[in-house]
């Protein structure tokens, strides 16, 4: 297990290094510079500004310095937001995004598991079909469309919930819902498949034969075993929530990291784009790393297969 963990950890670092390097050199290819109104500045002023951002040094020197700073957690300073450090900008903005993501994940997982279990238990009935159709709709309708529909019908027409902004719990409900649709749908689909397989297995039959109630069999024997593979879809789920926050925060005007990322892309604020990219990637890679390890811990068969490599 220790060797496996170490191996995964090394891959994690290599991947991060490649992302950081690729991001750096791609950014160097980009048109535009931190100098606004370049024509109005005298050559001396331009030189001072470039000096300040370290943009006068040869690219390899910049690259080494960039990697060094990165190792210290320094992501540079923003061109647009009054020279504020990127790490500070990320820190300020991560709260709402994390809250939205967390709420959507918890709500989505609970509803998804319930929906999937009910569909599996009532296999081939109207309830099953309805749940299946809902799940397909859920993975098909893009979150930005669903967010818009919620906003229009619940916010504008019925005036039940605030349409946008971020001023309290009721403001988080619609974005959370919009974000959790995909989570609900994919977990429900997954749960249904797993649950059907588990319910068809011999040990469930044994439990039933011993006279355990239907409820007990489903929840104690069935659900526990069916839930193990759900860990495998946590990775894609994390990516999806991340992508989701990019649009959902824009639609609902949530002051989160995703909203800032999209804005800095439109403003050509390269340090912020770079920093956020690396931050997102690191987060994603970490999730995959943890999922890999968790899976090895929970299901020894995986560990053995992984260890053999």
């Amino acid at each position: 297990m220790a060797r496996y963990t170490l191996q995964r950890f090394v891959y994690m670092l290599i991947t991060l290094f490649i992302i950081a390097t690729a991001t750096f050199f791609l950014m160097k290819l980009l048109p535009g510079s931190p100098l606004q109104n370049q024509e109005k500045l005298s050559p001396e002023q331009q030189k001072i500004i470039l000096e300040k951002y370290g943009l006068n040094d040869p690219v390899p020197v910049q690259y080494i310095r960039y990697l060094g700073n990165l190792a210290k957690g320094d992501l540079g300073v923003s061109f647009q937001y009054d020279n504020r450090p990127v790490s500070q900008l990320i820190g300020d903005r991560i709260g709402p995004s994390a809250q939205l993501g967390f709420q959507a994940l918890v709500f989505g997982t609970i509803v998804g598991i319930l929906l999937g279990v009910i569909a599996a238990v009532r296999h081939n009935t109207a309830i099953d079909y309805t749940a299946t159709i809902l799940a397909v709709l859920g993975i098909s309708i893009p979150s930005f469309v669903f967010g818009g529909l919620l906003q229009y019908y619940i916010g504008v027409k019925l005036k039940l919930l605030p349409v946008a902004f971020w001023e309290g719990f009721e403001y988080t409900i619609m974005p959370t819902l919009a974000l959790s649709v995909f989570v609900i749908a994919s977990i429900a689909r997954f749960m249904r498949t797993e649950m059907l397989e588990v319910l068809g297995s011999d040990y469930i039959l044994t439990a039933r034969a011993k006279g355990i109630s239907g409820f007990g069999v489903i929840f104690k024997h069935g659900l526990r075993n069916a839930m193990i593979p759900i860990i495998t879809i946590l990775g894609p789920m994390a990516v999806n929530l991340m992508t989701g926050t990019l649009v959902i925060e824009q639609i609902f005007a949530v002051p989160g990291l995703g909203e800032q990322f999209v804005r800095s892309i439109n403003l050509n604020d390269y340090p912020v784009i770079m920093g956020t990219t690396i931050f997102y990637s690191a987060l994603f890679i970490l999730v995959i790393f943890i999922v890999d390890l968790l899976y090895g811990l929970i299901d020894p068969r995986i560990r053995l297969a992984g260890g053999k490599k």
Partner: protein, 337 residues
Amino acid sequence: MMTEKQLSPELFELATERQGDMEKINRPSLTFFQDAWIRLRKNKGAVFGLVMIIIITLMAIFAPILSNHTYKEQNLKHAKLPPRIPVLENIDWLPFNGKDMNGINVYEKRGVKEYYWFGTDDLGRDLWTRTWYGARISLYIGVLAAAIDLLIGIAYGGISGFYGGRVDNVMQRIIEVLVGIPNLIVVILFILVFEPGIISITVAMVITGWVTMARIVRGQILKLKNMEYVLAARTLGASDSRIIAKHLLPNVVGPIIITTMFTIPSAIFTEAFLSFIGLGIRPPQASLGSLVNDGYKSIQTFPHLMMIPAFVISLLILSFNLLADGLRDALDPKMRK
């Protein structure tokens, strides 16, 4: 101990001779695909998906050609018209009667003789043409993603799985690193460096799109290449390329089709998503994602601007998902749940 019964010879009678019939095959033998097609046809969702994909494809090809407007033609006099379709306009509850939020027929009020089937946007561009033009882009992205899967993914996975050893080791390490990088990040970086537009999305997808397919093909090839029929072919002197093309790939066709079919809707979604946040298709070109985004700005007054493209993109992705689900069940009955 069972009590043995005495069986007298009278109990037996001679069987009529029908040896020929025993071996006779009554039903025509079906190929793998005929069999799958029969199973697919029974799946209502898949048939619905297939029909919808065909309809949307036909609309995307012909609607912009047959329309009187081009996707970028502006007519400010006809700006912000609600949808109006002949015949359907007489059905009150359908939103195609040319009336705005207040129930006023804008067409009559402004004296517009023409019918704009899906209405017009704030620059007077015909939404009907723009929606189907956007559907073209979505379908192009879908076809492109499928092509990348089929070309790069199969080749990479096939080579890696078939040759094994050091080649496989190196190729797998590369994949392991690539898998760790979120696709979206690569796509966004590419679009930043090269201008937003269809070409950047294409290039970014070429780089990221094939990894899943390569992994699946490799897994299948690894399993198949040790089968006895492959050994037999090898003993008879078949070349590597012949074994790959004639013996291995035909047996991987099922998983390949399934993977491709699931790639398509997610690629379509990615493009719509990028266009929605302003990184994809640039105006005056239209993509379903950018149309939805444009529609947002006037959702309170002209909801049709958002609803119609949103409906088409959702329907398109839904159809592909339904068809993919159906194909998975049809091609791999073992996976059927």
